[in-house]
């Protein structure tokens, strides 16, 4: 204690003041002389009432209190003084003539800290004062630390609250309120290291991202901000999950310290092509539960490093694609689910989880059964990790109806319809790594508001483009897609051929002509391929639907006119909007 009084005669105590309350004047004078020789500043009171008054006014550091005084005795005066100084420690030493037990007990009871018997001994007095001053210093240090801690805590709480608001504003998504989605997200602390994002695509269908940051709390949650903005921004613009996951990885690699990363699984449910695309880096296997089979029909394990570890050159954006059937269920969960422990510290584990899938008799209850079972299993034990799970039921109609609401689109509604056109040519080199659709759609919708018909437009553009690329340039046979095996093979083959593409090009021409109700949009896509006998094909389509040619048929229903030209290597679609 740096400021403790010294035992010698040096006037080291000048800054300390002592109140002496005693109705006996000679007594007071003796004490005054003793104390002043030690360097204390002394103030005096004749009785209890005056002592309280003086204390209030002067706030001395120490009080010497006689017991028997007129008007108010020392006990009462001490009680009042102690009541006035709750936040600080002001030692009160009782001055007593006797040392009878009852009297001493009363001293302590009223708040006295020590007592001194007459006649006064200089050394003893100094020792008592020193001892009490040391206690006072200790008390004030503890008090300061407590206040400092409380302030820290308050500031931390405020920051947490603020960050939490910020965080929930950013990751909040109404997309999880969809009839075919059930989810649970139970954060361990104020912040969760888990994130669950979902956003409808402009072409219909849904992107979902389930992520689990290293560690928990604020640091983990902060990383969620760039993830969600990239996810929502790019999904809205029509980018594929391979491109989104590449961009998130690039961002996180740049901003996160080496020991932090995001285990993530991102999926694309595409009702147009009945497909599910999965990129899984560090999340437990995605489970597909077949409605027809009433059992797990497929698991998609983690195939990649979590996000934020690999650099751009070594990042692997490869996705797995599989076919979906009506009411098949997709389950994604963070490892907190299987690592949930019971009160004995035993983890829930994969086997118990699989058991729930096996025992289930009503698939619509599966999600609730899992949730109930996990909660029951933990029964009172502390939740250790963040625990997140989502179930998506593949409902083609509802997925297609999941419409994307673009706020900026509404603002454009008032803008005038105008005439414009542009064309672009994409070389083989460009096609191997660049998907022009998002940019194309963005450009078209920036030039002209189509009153919420962006989704349909996206479908038109993507069908025309993939028709030109898959069949015109890559010569893929869509009859391959007839069964589930061929389905996967088709997409693998597509990827292989695309990455080896050396020749060929696609020309895209877009023109808009306004009219009274809206306008007429012409989109012409020409590929450098050999084309095909479109007349025969059209006839086949009219007679029998089959597995292939679905895309062109879809176009027919959306567009006013779809025409094959040239050798069948040119497709021109006319889209009327109003």
């Amino acid at each position: 204690m740096g400021s403790s009084a010294k035992l010698n005669n040096q006037p080291a105590n000048t800054s300390l003041s002592v109140l002496v309350a005693d109705d006996d004047i000679p007594n007071r004078l003796v004490l005054q002389a003793l104390l002043e020789r030690q360097g204390y500043h002394v103030i005096q009171a004749d009785d209890g009432i005056q002592a309280v008054e003086m204390f209030k006014r002067e706030r001395p550091d120490l009080v010497l209190m006689d017991i028997t005084m007129p008007h108010m005795d020392g006990y009462e005066a001490t009680r009042r003084i102690k009541a006035m100084s709750e936040d600080t420690f002001v030692p009160v030493i009782f001055l007593t003539a006797t040392s009878d037990r009852e009297g001493l007990a009363k001293c302590v009871e009223s708040g006295g800290d020590d007592f001194l018997t007459k006649p006064y001994n200089r050394v003893l007095l100094q020792a008592r004062i020193d001892a009490l001053m040391r206690i006072r210093d200790l008390y004030s240090t503890v008090q300061d630390q407590r206040n400092e801690l409380a302030n820290h805590q308050k500031r931390l709480d405020r920051e947490r609250q603020l960050a939490k608001r910020l965080f929930s504003n950013i990751i909040e998504t109404s997309s999880l309120d969809l009839p075919y989605v059930q989810s649970m997200l139970s954060p361990m602390s104020l912040f969760s290291g888990d994130i669950l994002l979902a956003a409808p695509k402009p072409s219909g269908g849904l992107h979902v991202l389930l992520g689990d940051f290293t560690g928990h709390g604020l640091a983990a949650a902060i990383g969620a901000l760039p993830v969600s903005s990239v996810f929502y921004g790019m999904t809205t613009k029509g980018y594929s999950i391979a491109e989104i996951v590449t961009e998130i990885n690039r961002k996180l690699k740049k901003i996160l310290p080496t020991d932090m990363f995001l285990a993530a699984c991102i999926i694309d449910i595409n009702p147009g092509s009945h497909t599910l695309s999965v990129w899984n880096g560090g999340i437990p296997s995605v489970i597909i539960y077949g409605e027809a089979e009433q059992e797990i029909i497929r698991v998609l394990p983690s195939r990649h490093l979590p996000l934020g570890i690999a650099n751009e050159e070594s990042f692997n954006r490869r996705v797995e694609i599989l076919e979906m059937r009506q009411n098949d269920r997709i389950y994604m969960y963070s490892d907190g689910l299987t690592e949930a422990t019971n009160p004995d510290g035993v983890m829930f584990g994969n086997q118990r989880l699989e058991g729930l899938f096996i025992r289930n008799r009503d698939s619509s209850e599966l999600f609730n059964e899992i949730r109930r079972e996990i909660i029951r299993y933990q029964a009172g034990g502390a939740q250790q990790d963040d625990m997140t799970m989502i179930e998506l039921r593949y409902d083609q109609q509802q997925l297609e109806d999941t419409v994307f609401h673009d706020k900026t689109q509404a603002k454009l509604l008032e803008s005038q319809a105008s005439a414009w056109s542009f064309s672009m040519e994409l070389s083989a080199d460009l096609l191997t790594y660049f998907d022009p659709l998002p940019l194309l759609i963005q450009a078209v919708c920036d030039m002209q508001s189509f009153r919420g018909q962006r989704q349909q437009l996206y479908t038109v553009f993507s069908e025309l483009f993939s028709n030109a690329l898959d069949h015109g340039i890559l010569n893929l046979d869509s009859t391959m897609k007839r069964n589930a095996d061929g389905f996967a093979k088709y997409y693998m083959e597509r990827e292989a051929r695309l990455s080896n593409l050396r020749e060929g090009s696609i020309k895209i021409f877009v023109a808009h002509e306004p009219n009274e109700e809206g306008g007429l949009l012409t989109i012409r896509v020409e590929d450098s391929g050999e084309g095909f006998d479109f007349r025969k094909k059209q006839l086949a389509l009219e007679n029998n639907v089959g597995h292939s040619g679905r895309g062109i048929q879809l176009l027919d229903t959306i567009c006013e006119k779809v025409e094959f030209k040239g050798n069948g290597n040119i497709v021109e679609a006319t889209y009327r909007w109003h």
Partner: protein
């Protein structure tokens, strides 16, 4: 001691042995093991997990820190004797592409 290391000078190998829980609580001890090893060009690091019964994602982060400190792709780090649970955590995160796993 949950984390101990021994340096064998003859074949230029540093072995770090983990026991009990491998998580954030042992991060300083773990880091000291390779900080203090003063590795040379060809130092091999072996992380022996035989005594470890638990590992969380912060431990994955600690492994990444170690790998970066020892030169990223140039680092020679093996992880051996993993229990099935720990092996599962490492493979779900695809750490076999960053570390030698035996």
């Amino acid at each position: 001691m949950p984390v101990t290391s021994e340096v064998s000078t003859d074949d230029n190998t540093v072995t770090i042995k983990i026991s009990g829980r491998f998580d954030f609580a042992v991060q300083n001890e773990f880091r000291d093991c390779y900080y203090n090893a003063k590795p040379g060009e060809n130092t091999r690091f072996i992380i022996n997990m035989s005594g470890a019964n638990y590992m969380d994602s912060s431990a994955l982060g600690m492994l990444l820190m170690m790998r970066e400190y020892l030169g990223g792709n140039a680092a020679d780090i093996s992880i051996i004797n993993c229990s099935p649970d720990i092996k599962n955590i490492l493979t779900v995160a695809n750490f076999q592409s960053l570390f030698k796993m035996e």
